[in-house]
Structure formats: C-alpha cells, structure tokens
Amino acid sequence: MSNKYIGQSVKRLEDKRFITGKGRYTDDIKLPGMTYASFVRSPYAHARVNRIDTSAAKDMPGVVAIFTGDDIASAGIVGVPTGWQVNFRNGDTMKEPPHPLLVPTGSTVKHIGDPVAVIIADSREAAFDASEAVEVDWEELPAVVSAYKATQEGAPQVHPDAPGNLAFDWEIGNPIDEVNEAIEQSAHVTTLEFVNQRLVPNAIEPRAYIGHYDEVSDKYTLYTSTQNPHLIRLLMCAFVLGIPEHKVRVLGPDVGGGFGSKIYHYTEEALVTWASKQIRRPIKWTETRSEAFMLDAHGRDHITKAEMGFDAEGNIKALRIKTYANLGAYLSTFAPAVPTYLHGTLLQGLYTTPKIHLDLYGVFTHTVAVDAYRGAGRPEATYLLERMLDLAALEMGKNPVQLRKQNFIPSFDGVEQPGYQTQVALQYDSGNYHGVLDRAVEMLGYDEFRQMQQEANQNGKLLGVGFSTYIEACGIAPSAVVGALGARAGLYESAQVRVQPTGKVSVFTGAHSHGQGHVTTFAQVVADKLGIAMEDIDIIHGDSDAVAFGMGTYGSRSLAVGGSAIVKSIDKVLEKGAKIAAHKLECSVDDLEYAEGKWTVKGTDKSISFGDVALTAYVPHVYPQGLEPGLDFSSFYDPANFTYPFGCHIAIVEVDKETGRVKLKRFIAVDDVGNVINPMIVDGQIHGGLAQGIGQALLEEAIYDENGQLTNGSYMDYAMPRADDLPSFELDRQVTPCPHNPLGVKGAGEAGCIGSTPAVVNAVIDALWSGGHKVKDIRMPLTSERVWRAMQEQNTQILHS
C-alpha cells in the first residue's frame, strides 16, 4: 500500500477522449448490414387501438420489416418486468400488469408515446417516413395524470385489474395509534401539504440500442446506453425473451449520463434484440430528444401531507405522513422500491424522532413510468423533513440551527459506538451530524447574516437563508436486507484483477461508468494498493462477456461496493504473490512486507518486485510446490450494510419584492461522504448534484395537461439549470469513514441532489417571512409568478393542482 494516488485530484484519464470528440457511444457504432428502427407511438394518453393498417408503410422505399403488438404477442412475449416487489399492507402481492413491447390491437395505450408498431428500414429517415404512413384507428379514452385524483371514485382506470389505480398501499414505522397519540399530545404541530414535482432526467445522450443476432455463432449482441449491462441481460433473457444468458452479450459502451434513467430495462432494448433475429440483420434505434422527454422514466412526483409534533421545548415527538406516489402507467424496473424502501426508510433523517408513520399509496396514472432519478426517494424524504424543520422554526420563533441540533442523533463512529437503529428499519453506520452543521453555519456566519437580512429589509430587499441537513442510504445494497424488502436480485458487485505476465494489471468491474470517472478513481485505488503506476492499470467495464457479473452503477454504489470487490481481489493477488516472493527469496511469508510495489524481507535489503513475481507466476520454473500458476483473481463483494453519507447545505437567496424573482446568492455545502479517493471528482459530483437539486427548486417540472399530454417536452419549454442560474458553490468536507467496507468510502453521486432542494425553498420562505409574508409553502419550481402570487396572498397556502 502506498499513498501516491489516493486522496489526490488526479485528472480524469477519460476526459481527453471525451472532450476531443473521441467518445464511442452506441449511436457511433455502425455494423455491416445495419437497419434502423422507428416506432409508431400513441399521440393519446389513453386510447383503444382499434385497427393498425401498415399496408401503405410496407411499400415505402427502404422498409425491411414491420412488427405490431400482435406479432409480439403471437411470439409469446408478454413484456418487460419490474425488479422489486412491494406488498399491500394486508399482505396481498402488488398489482403488476404486463408492460408489452408493443401494444396489440384491441388493447389500450396507457401514456403518450406508448408504441403500437415498429418500422425497420435501411435508413433512419426511411424508417421515420414509413412510420408516418402507418394508419392507426385510435379510440380516445379519458385519462388521469394526478396520483391523488387517480385514487378517487370515478377516476379513469389505467389497468382493469388494478382497482382504484392502486399498485399497492404500504406503511412503515411505528404503530399508527402510537403516532396519532404522540401528535395529539404535542405542544406544537407543524403541518405541510406539498407536491414534490415530476422531473425529466435529461441525460445528454438519448437512449440508443443496437440488437444484433449472429446466425453463425447463434449469439445475440445488444449494445445499449445503460447503467448496468448485466442487469439488462438478466432481465431480458430470463424474463422477457426466454433466451439463455450465455447466448447473449450485452455491451454498454460510452454512456452520456443516466441519473437513474438508464438503469431500467426498456421495451425497445428487448424489441431490437428479438427483431434482429427475425430479419437476420442488426437493428439500431436511437431515441429522438422528443422521445427522451416523453419516454425516459421520470423522477419524483409525490403529493404529501406531513405533520410533525414538538413538545414545548422544541423536541420532535412524532412525524405522521400520507403520500401519494405516482408510478406512471407501468411499473419500471426499480419503481416500486423508490417511494417505499428508498423513501420511507429515510424518514428518520438525522433526528431522534421517537414515533414515525408513513402511509403510502403507489398509484398508476396515464403518464410515463416514474422511477429512480438521482437520489431516488431520498430527495423526497429529505425535502419533507427539512421543509418541516425550517417551517417549524419559523412558526415557533426558534433558531433553525438550534432546533436541528437539539434533535440530532448524537455522534457515533460505528466501531466503538454501535450503529444507530432508526424507527424505519435502517441502522445508520456512522455519523457526526453536528460537525457538518457547525462547519456550514461557520462558513455562513449566522449572526452576520441575520443582521444583513434586517438591513436588507429596511432597504427594500428580501433576503432569506434556508438550511438542509440530510442523510442518504447509499452503497446499494446488502443483498439479504434488500431481498427481505422485496428486491428480486442481489446487489453485490464483482471484480476481477488480472495481473498480466509483465506486471501490468487489467481490472474487470461490474460497475459501469457513465460520467463518474471510474477509470480514474478505480485505477488510483489499484495503483496504491499494488504500489504500481496508474498507467500500468486498465479498468474494463460495460461488457457482459469480459466481466463475470455486475449490478451496475446507481445508488452511489460503485466505489463502496464495486471498489470493495476490487480490494478483495487485490488482497488475493497479494496473498498469492507473497507465496511466490517468499519462495524466490527463500524465506517465510511472515518475514515479508509489501510496500512500493515490492516484497522485502523485513530488516534486509533483499526484495523482489511486483513485476518479477507476476512473471514468475506465468513462467513458473522456480515456483512453490503445489501452487497454481497465474495471478488472476475474481471476487464478489456483498456489503454488510448500506453506507450513510450526510451533510449540511445552506442557501441564501434574494427575492425581488416587485417581481418575485429569486436570485440564489450563495450556496454552502459541507458533505461527509466518508473517505475520498479523488477530491476533484467528488467535488464534480457534488457540483452536478447541486445543480440538479437547485434546478428542481427553481426551474424544472414535467407538466402533463389534464388529457395526459406532456406540454413541455422540449428544451424550449422545460427549464434546465444553466451556469448563470447558479452561484459559485462554497464546498467543504468532513470525513467520517464508513466502518464496514475496506475503503471506508460512503458514496458521493447523489448527495448534492438530495440536500440542496429544500435548502433553496426554505431560503425563499425565510425571505418572505422576513418581509412579513407568512407563507408556508410555494409549489416548486419557485418561478417568479408563484413567488409573487404567494406574496400577494400572504398567509394562504398555494394549492397544488
């Protein structure tokens, strides 16, 4: 072990390739004889497909084949599955209606863009033209888009076998009677009804797939813009197409962002793979940006009522929540897990709240699926808790920092002191919550800010500060725990460390990089563990034939789980290497120490380098008896627990009294993500997460009209955060190592997105209160119009649509 690379901001090895246009994405790949797919999609949110006439399209130039839902159904393909099971609270299994690859005639399409036919042609243009020539007789039916409205009497039904549009109802926490009693006995109850609005993930690279069936080898290859190639192979082979896994190779080449939206197994992936065998030619489908807005699984979309009870001293006594979670028309791969196990289990937050109860409804609507989007459930939980804390402080006239501190879970390292058992199933690994809050408040200058706020008010300006302290469950996930929670897969990770005869090292990881910089970070870990140069290490990922297995990248898991698997393999390499070294140096293994890339006999200058040992392993002339040649080890790492990063975010905003325009003036983030391998990459992850979280607070929302039409499905109408919407972030870091993985890392991919949103909204509410507008809530995104209206209406809450 050396310390040359770990902790250093090594420049990303992959960036030269990316910024000089040398990335190789799925759409860049061209195979001989390739064809192109275009889908015929529903213009309605809900309609019966009475008839599909493909006769005109068939004769269009370049058309190779046309498939409809009837073709898929007669091939015996039912549809794509979901990966998690959640049960109704009475124990009944959740409703899991089929999600067909193409909707057959006589059936109903259930969201705009739901496909009914696919055209395969010699060129993309020919496929587009022919898809326009398909005539579909649609019978438009009434639609419902709001999760709350969908559960009401008389609402249009999405699936006939899911009455009341319920996929499941679910609860977690303490018995409801105990929570009710604690709320009733509270000296103060803060109540908030709010919407956590629907977001479009907006990866810069739209989804793209190539299905290629090769007759000679009788094997399929799927190139896919995905976050987890092995998971796609598993789902597609075992649950959709019934093809044996060893006959399918899934490749995830360079992928331009995912944010969760590329975790899931989409219908188009299975369709191009299946159809390629029918036509004996490769088929490429590249999503248009308009399709990406319409079809990539959306995020958030909760409607919530929350009540938090306090005693007279401000100690939290109880939390009672009712939430309607929109799941869209079909259950996407992770969808059932997001509002339940990734949201309900985080409602303890950083507080010692003794009684918690969540009453949750997972609801079908005539909208595209909602699934994990950066943070996945944890931003929703954090938003809820942190809005409640700041609002309670305003209502009770207390200092929001003090209110948090008096309710914080005391510090514990998870080694000397045990982990913290929450009321909602999880056991936190280690935490020092006062530390991050104190540091962030120090950076803010609390008293100085309050003075500035008063002066600003006298000068006709509204300044506000908003606090947010978050915790997240990352390093997803211990298989036994998630299995008990309904996951249909384990969530371990695999790694193979292959030392080549020359001492160069190839590392095969089941994690998948789509912007996270694994090629750099993982190489830093390997280089230091082996004491060799980073240039001598290659990180290989995204190929199901090269990598033994993998669960991919999401839930801030790659380093905590995938990195730990690599460490396990390195330990095995070093253990075997020591045996070879001892034989060559004619000593016992116990006499050796390994440092700076060589084994040395303790107390002497006798040593052998890593490269020499590697060569000996492959040229075993002078070799320990009974030891196998070679230096190549695989490992699977299943974490003992989730990891629990945490932090404190503070926003300072200025609100224009005349127009309601919000200007974000400062943003402070003090995050504790455990040990850090590459500070620059972690900062980059935090920056990106903050931009997305602030985007939700101020700018972004996917808006369906009452007929289920997505009314802002383009960059003209969907407001993404831009550089000039953001201040220069003020970052700092605290390190509380994870006690249960070998690197002590907790994960940094989602932190920025989880903590930032409530800080911004709290700051705007604080600004309004400072001007005498005692507004409880403004519906996100906080546009000038909404803030201005809130100021006009004073105490009344802005109701959600």
Partner: protein
C-alpha cells in the same frame, strides 16, 4: 388552448351569416384551410396546413356544425389529425347586430391538442391563436370588400 375573439364587421348579420354558411368563402377566410368539402348535412371534410412555432404539418379531418341559429350563429366542431398530432376544437360563434349594417362576430371555445403538437407547440400557442384570429378577421373584411363574382 383557449380560442376567443370578437370583431365588428361592416355587414348586416344576414350577409355575415350567408358567408359563414358558404364553404368556398370559409375555405378562403379561415387561415390554414386549403380545402373544404361538403360531405353531408352540416358535415364537411377539411384539409389544413398549420405551422405552430417549430412544428408544422398537414391536417385532415372533419368539421361539423351544430346548434345552428339562422343569422345568429352556430357551434363548430373540428377534429383534425396529422403526423405531428391531433387537434379537437369546439367553438361557438355568435352574431350580434351593431347599429345599421354592422355585426359583431364573437367566437369562444377551446382546442385540445395531442402528440408533438402538444409537446413542443405549447409555449407559442397563445401567440399562434392570436395571429390566426387576426388573420381570420382580416380575411373576412377583405372578403366583404371583394365584389361578388357573378
């Protein structure tokens, strides 16, 4: 999308009414309409070319008239489909006499859009509606000034 407008035309209600019932005249004055064919009692087939912000397309579909009140107005129902999405509009038209030889034409209704049209055209819809309304009345006035072909 809401569709509302009102304008005083220099003609008595009877003349305006006659024009509103004449498919040839309607095809000339309703912006975007390229053809209007009678297919039954108060039923027509319509072809239109419409541009909405970044998207444009050829529309075809039916047009029906109901609630026909001679010289006073009717309700027009238009259902059009195209490759970029479909439109479904119901508009009530009222004619009110204003002094001698003048008529106030008022229309009030809404259109339901779907597909790409709804997804990308929304931001410019009110602007497009205003432009179309303005064009409609301008065309109407021009039509009134044009000597009748005999």
């Amino acid at each position: 999308m809401e569709l509302q407008g009102s304008h005083v035309l220099n003609a008595p209600p009877e003349q305006v009414w006659e024009m509103l019932m004449d498919t040839d005249v309607l095809a000339r004055i309703v912006p975007g309409i390229s053809r209007l064919e009678k297919t039954g009692d108060n039923e027509y087939k319509a072809l239109a070319e419409i541009k909405m912000g970044p998207v444009s397309g050829s529309f075809s579909g039916g047009l029906t008239l109901s609630d026909i009140r001679e010289n006073e107005g009717y309700t027009i129902h238009v259902k059009q489909s195209s490759k970029i999405g479909n439109a479904d509009a119901t508009i009530r038209i009222d004619l009110t006499p204003v002094g001698p030889d003048q008529t106030q034409l008022t229309f009030d209704g809404g259109a339901k859009l779907s597909g790409l049209l709804a997804r990308t055209g929304n931001r410019v819809l009110s602007g497009v509606a205003n432009t179309l309304t303005k064009q409609f009345f301008e065309n109407f006035e021009k039509e009134l000034k044009t000597p009748k072909e005999a």
